[in-house]
Point group: C2
Chain length 338, copies 2
DNA sequence: CATATTGCAGAGAGCGCTCTCAACCGATTC
DNA sequence: GAATCGGTTGAGAGCGCTCTCTGCAATATG
């Protein structure tokens, strides 16, 4: 067992080599101003010479901070392991933000409640992290509220389904969906259907609500099929919709992946897009540019959502109080499918 | 600043409540056998009552272990943030394996060498993790070798480009590609082209090598275009190929994403698949089932690759010596595109 | 019955670091 | 010349935990 950690230099070593006390060495390492320049230099060159790296565990022990943030994701969330890079983008955003302040990202997958749920809860409340970002929650998951109540700074990515004081970062899904549907209506479409997302996730629920609102506004009947954000479910839903109303001339899909599935189903049913049926998606994933035809879709800034969540949780961990809701803007990107 | 950590119970508290010494409480918490049952129970109920969770920092300080493993990914790697869920699958695999032994996963993105590179190196060699899994390396990245030399247990995901003793987990890309191309040849295709992956990544290089070998074996000329594993690059490469040799009757793409791009380009060029041109991909991503036509492809067990990498690094961290190369099997999945 | 052996609990020494507090020192002021 | 005062540095007390070593019964052995 070759433990490299064994012979790592300690602050004590650095201090000795620089001919100062441990306290002073610590000051230099932590950038305190009140150290005489020539002493500072001596310490720094000792650090350099020995290749000293502070021991995080020792530091955490006294500061009571861990300098790491947990990113908790529902393993079952279709978005996490489905076709689209939603997950990756969120991670990238969080990662960028944490990196900037030299914090670590601890990733935790949580299965459908059970042991892994408890594990995450224990870990986070156990003081192993300075805060947690939770995303892709299904149903009325009690985790955010629990952690929050235990005093752990928590920020959710996406509105919570239960009444809760846990702050979150999201886009205005309802409003964005509404705008998308209105676009369809404004361009002369009469029978607009929707492929909704899972109804146990706020993104799914709110986008459907937006669709309903827009339809109601213009006095039209809703036509809904539910998917789970994946391509396959989108294709399936589209077929159902076509069966329910062969006359439909537009469809709003609550995710680009489902929209692509719909495009495929439409093609197989012999409908032309956008001539016979217009299609609008949601997300503006990379691939939306390359579908046939290119997809008109609602762009949401996924990476920024991650960044913001990180920034918020960092602020909470720093003792600030933050606004409970932070909504980022969306934009309807018009391409050829609608 | 509401520091929840402040009033967390310590082992001392547990010991006091159970009427035993700290040492004994520690034994119980760590599952030592040599504790009398009735004492054990007393301690456990104290733990329960107080909601005690061990302080990882304190524990690490003395054990010199951190119980966490770093997963390092090249942020620039196209596979990480491109259309396919490669990244997610690796993470899932690693995560599953670590969870089983209650270790944490610390995710680190590393940009194209520079500050973030140093940061990762410092962090890992600084004893903050018990080991590191590095994947999606571009070019001859020195990071794996450096960490390894510094005594950090390292396992790479994918063969390294430089001569190195760092162990890795991968599939036999060359062999798999060869088999795929041979399938094309065996089914009567004569002019087989390839869309290769990036030539600064082993997966890209080796798959091209396999293609070349198969072509050479049957005395045919190679026709190569290079992509970067993304859809777009696949479509672009396909157009080039079609320009280079309008007579080609098959193409082997080094990733499913590129294969899908190729399918699209082929369709736009008016070629029928598989009638005019046969297409074979690589990966067997979820979406390969849903392309038009469904994609014949080489399946590689991505999640298992992650699992294995985790398992290996854990073994190294445990002091075992492991086999330097671990290859997982691939399988040609025949669907309709070839 | 004395002694060796075993089984289990407690005492106590740190792990490497931060941070408070006291000490010191040259410089300024009365 | 004594008192005061910013500006620095050092000493030392832990942070919460593990682990070795010691101590002490209870049991087995000669």
């Amino acid at each position: 067992m070759v433990m490299s950690g064994r012979d790592r230099p300690t602050l004590e070593n650095v201090a000795q080599r620089a001919g100062v006390s441990r306290a002073t060495a610590s000051r230099v390492v932590n950038g305190s101003t009140s150290v005489a320049p020539h002493i500072r230099d001596k310490v720094l060159s000792a650090v350099e010479a020995l290749g000293y790296v502070p021991n995080q565990a020792a530091r955490s022990l006294v500061t009571q901070r861990t300098d790491s943030i947990a990113l908790v994701a529902s393993e079952t969330a279709s978005r996490v392991f489905s076709d689209d890079p939603f997950f990756s983008s969120i991670i990238r955003g969080v990662s960028l933000e944490l990196e900037a302040v030299d914090k670590q990202l601890v990733l935790m997958m949580v299965g459908p409640s059970g042991p892994s749920h408890d594990r995450v809860e224990r870990y986070c409340t156990g003081g192993h992290v300075d805060g947690a970002i939770i995303f892709s929650m299904h149903g009325a998951d009690p985790l955010p509220e629990r952690l929050s109540r235990a005093g752990v700074p928590v920020v959710c990515n996406g509105r919570l389904l239960i009444q809760s004081s846990v702050p979150y970062v999201d886009v205005d899904n309802e409003d964005a969906a509404r705008a998308a549907v209105r676009h369809l209506l404004d361009t002369g479409r009469r029978r607009v259907a929707t492929i909704a997302g899972p109804q146990d996730m706020s993104a799914g629920i709110d986008r459907l609500k937006g669709y309903r609102a827009a339809m109601q506004d213009s006095g039209r009947r809703s036509l809904v099929a539910v998917g789970d954000f994946t391509r396959q479910s989108g294709a399936l839903a589209m077929s159902q919709l076509l069966g329910d109303d062969p006359q439909l001339d537009a469809v709003f899909a609550a995710s680009d992946a489902m929209a692509e599935g719909a495009l495929r189903a439409l093609r197989q049913a012999g409908r032309r897009v956008p001539d016979d049926v217009a299609v609008v998606g949601f997300d503006d994933m990379d691939f939306a540019r390359d579908t046939e035809p290119p997809l008109t879709t609602v762009r949401q800034p996924i990476t920024d959502l991650g960044r913001m969540a990180a920034r918020q949780v960092l602020r909470m961990a720093g003792g600030e109080t933050i606004e409970p809701v932070l909504l980022l803007p969306t934009e309807l990107v018009k391409r050829e499918s609608a």
